[in-house]
Chain length 120, copies 2
């Protein structure tokens, strides 16, 4: 039931831009809550890498006086990974193409993260 | 000599926006090459956290089919950390206030990274 509601948010998000390739809601300890992934991307891999990045990102933000971690963005030659906090217990992970317009993606992801936070 | 040239790039960068609080050039293994930091921020801490983030970011980008890592952005409640590749051997690390306009920061940092890559 909650998984269906989360999947509906992810479906809207993936549909909001052709540049969004995959999205998932993961717990802050790296377990999958819901996902819409293309074939070839494993849930466990995203959960594990996401949780590791969040932990290190939070520690870095603290050590460098940046406060509470809210978002992590990775830009690679083949596209983006964006992790956004969705309430205290969940994180919205999004993968986008290198052609993505970040301003639009940030906006759509922030809305989806707010909706996710209400459900989780 | 090279350190002076790098410091000059960092000085121009920090001067380009009042939202940029600190900048540094670090080697990809986390050693400091040049820095312009406010009191209270230790070089070693930035180098160590930067190198750890880069290593994990590169692995994540690879595992999630995002290609070669080009940039890492952390957004915290108290500001941003931005790591940008500057050639093969160096990384430009920038800390900015939460009020920073990311579009401007990205532009200035990209130029500074290109200039850094020519020197390192």
């Amino acid at each position: 039931m909650r998984e269906d509601m989360l999947k509906s948010i992810l479906s809207d998000l993936n549909g909001s831009s052709a540049d969004i390739e995959a999205s998932a809601v993961i717990s802050t300890d790296g377990l999958m809550m819901a996902s819409l992934l293309p074939a070839g991307l494993e849930e466990e891999r995203i959960g594990a890498m996401g949780a590791a990045l969040l932990a290190l990102g939070a520690r870095t933000a603290q050590e460098l006086s940046r406060g509470e971690l809210e978002q992590v963005l990775l830009k690679g030659s083949q596209g983006y990974v964006l992790l956004t906090g969705a309430g205290r217990d969940a994180v919205l992970a999004v993968m986008a193409k290198p052609s993505a317009k970040l301003g639009l993606i940030f906006l759509d992801v922030r809305r989806a993260a707010e909706n996710t936070a209400k459900i989780v």
